[in-house]
């Protein structure tokens, strides 16, 4: 459980939760997080699905050699780059969640507690 939703049943906690939930900044932040998450998921799925589409429909494109000197088909760098790109996106996502959004959440929480 994240700390901002981890409430016991006592009335203080309930009151705190109610305050937090109606806090306008908290509501805005939740929408932002949801949008951010959705956009990252869309980026990842789009990349994979476009790779998959080209992979199944146009194999001859991916089997073309990279260059005249280099007989490696495009498939190999494309597959490896796709893996690395997804790793990179995961990194950006984790960084954004762990620094920007978590800090803002912490700030709102303190604001409510005061």
């Amino acid at each position: 459980m994240p700390s901002h939703l981890n409430f016991s049943q006592n009335s203080n906690a309930k009151e705190y939760r109610a305050k937090l939930l109606i806090h306008p900044e908290y509501q805005r932040l939740r929408v932002r997080i949801r949008q951010y998450r959705a956009s990252v998921a869309v980026v990842l799925l789009t990349c994979y699905l476009s790779f998959l589409f080209v992979f199944v429909s146009f194999p001859q494109v991916l089997l073309q050699p990279v260059s005249a000197q280099n007989p490696t088909p495009w498939l190999i760098p494309a597959a490896i780059m796709l893996i690395l790109f997804q790793f990179l996106v995961t990194g950006v996502y984790v960084k954004q969640m762990n620094t920007v959004f978590d800090d803002e959440l912490e700030r709102i929480r303190q604001d409510v507690e005061v």
Binding site: Y48, L52, F53
Partner: protein
């Protein structure tokens, strides 16, 4: 005893003892979560990697790259790509709402307990097929070492699996998983370097399309034996399948807070990425070093290609060490599959969903029964599928997961309009569609009839069965509203 068998025993025995010794028998979920509390992101990430690394993909994909080249690559990319999706679509969301299993999520969202039953039934084929893939791989590896017939090794392994099923639960600790991850990665890295040295080709020659096509000449211009739609269907199963696996999430929740949980998934993503890139490299190194598949065709199908490579570059010693490590990895996956799979049935569904007063069975007996049935089914399939590629079998398990549990889980979490009736009928429709497609498909009908012909031509039906599930869910939720009295969806 041959040298290979001796090296094998000398490596496998201490490893096995180490794994079992460090697997402190954790009895309750609370203890399991508590055990991981002190772990930081990196260590937990390594433990997650240990859970996720699959010997079946290592053996299967390298074989597929040698034998059918093109589609092998899809497995490597697809198995990896499901992982970041889990983090973003599920991990944070589940942590926020505080439910860690599919049964919990479904119960909190829908009032109808039969939906949990459908999800539990959906787990069953996933666990059985996944388990049969482990059995096929383990049987061939032991067959390679000891030269005993496939059927006899399989019978022995089934016995061991049954004993595991009957004697109780053993969760491999995070430490054991970390050791496992470290061993497999080190071994793969050294094999890649050794093989690269042996192949003495530049990186650009390594992937050369001419050498690749020399061993896999395209048939009538088609680079894969599957039709484009069937390959697309496989791709969908590979990316969605991991989202619905029974035990994926548990270790994610075993760290103390969200930040560390996310960091551990980040580290795990990196290591799993390296794992699949190494598999691609190793696959192409086998194309170079083993050349024409005919030369290495054995009864084992394409499953022992990597072992042949180890034999070539490091002699029987390296081959035996590789087999020993892989067998230990497969064994640990086997035990956790048997136990988590059947506890989804006996604990998540029966003990917690069936109404308290009317329980007729002892939960522990039911657990044993469920795990024994799982083992028997998996062993029969392993007998039928002895020449199938194991990565292919894992893909099939993912097809079930992607068509039953994933639509239920994502629907419950993200789709407010999904009603109880929609979830129930959609889940059932997805399950029946997958079952029918698989039973009448090449892997069961084709194998049994001997001619290889089948009614349903795709080996991986996810695209078909997932569409059926989603359409039924949408249609029933939209048009079927028996009475609104019960507050039919949200609690």
């Amino acid at each position: 005893m041959s040298n290979t068998a001796l090296y094998f025993v000398l490596t496998a025995l201490p490893l096995m003892i180490l794994m079992i010794w460090s697997a402190n028998r954790i009895r309750t979920a609370a203890e399991f979560y508590a055990a991981g509390r002190e772990y930081g992101g990196l260590r937990n990430g390594l433990a997650i990697t240990g859970d996720y690394l699959s010997a079946a993909s290592l053996l299967g994909i390298t074989g597929l790259i040698l034998f059918s080249g093109y589609s092998g690559l899809l497995y490597a990319v697809g198995f990896f790509s499901g992982w970041p999706i889990i983090l973003i679509l599920l991990a944070d969301k589940l942590r926020t709402i505080g439910h860690f299993t599919l049964a919990d999520v479904l119960k909190s969202r829908f009032s109808d307990p039969r939906i949990v039953l459908v999800a539990t039934l959906g787990y069953f084929p996933v666990v059985v097929i996944y388990l049969s893939a482990q059995l096929v791989a383990m049987t061939w590896l032991l067959n390679y070492i000891f030269g005993v017939k496939y059927e006899i090794v399989l019978a022995g392994l089934t016995g061991v699996a049954l004993v595991t099923a009957l004697t109780g639960r053993m969760i491999f600790s995070s430490r054991a998983q970390m050791i496992k991850a470290g061993l497999v990665m080190t071994l793969m890295l050294s094999m890649t370097l050794l093989a690269f040295d042996r192949a003495s080709s530049s990186l650009s020659e390594l992937f050369s399309i001419d050498i690749w096509f020399a061993s896999n000449p395209p048939v009538n211009g088609a680079v894969s034996e599957d039709s484009p739609l069937a390959l697309f269907s496989l791709g969908i199963a590979l990316i969605l399948g991991p989202v619905g696996l029974p035990h994926v999430m548990s270790r994610f929740f075993s760290v103390a807070d969200e930040r560390r949980a996310r960091m551990s998934v980040f580290y795990a993503t990196g290591m799993i990425g390296i794992f699949y890139i190494l598999i691609i490299l190793l696959g192409f190194l086998t194309v170079h070093l083993l050349g024409q598949p005919e030369a290495s065709v054995t009864a084992a199908g394409s499953n022992l290609v990597l072992v042949r490579l180890a034999e070539l570059i490091g002699g029987e010693f390296l081959a035996a060490v590789l087999v020993a490590i892989l067998v230990v990895v497969l064994f640990s996956v086997m035990t956790s599959l048997i136990l988590t799979g059947s506890s989804a049935f006996s604990h998540d569904w029966y003990a917690r969903t069936v109404i308290g007063g009317s329980k007729r069975w002892n939960e522990r007996h039911l657990h044993r029964l469920a795990s024994s049935v799982t083992v028997v089914f998996a062993a029969s399939l392993a007998l039928l599928w002895q020449t199938e590629n194991v990565a292919n079998l894992v893909g099939l398990a993912f097809a079930f997961s992607a068509s039953v549990n994933v639509p239920l889980l994502l629907g419950a979490l993200y789709c407010d309009r999904l009603t109880s009736a929609g979830a129930l009928s959609g889940g059932l429709a997805g399950l029946s569609a997958t079952l029918i497609a698989v039973i009448t498909g090449p892997l069961i009908w084709g194998n049994l009839s001997g001619s290889g012909e089948s009614f349903f031509s795709w080996r991986h039906p996810a695209l078909f069965s997932l569409s059926v599930a989603v359409l039924v869910m949408w249609f029933v939720s939209r048009w079927y509203h028996p009475s609104r009295r019960e507050g039919d969806s949200d609690k």
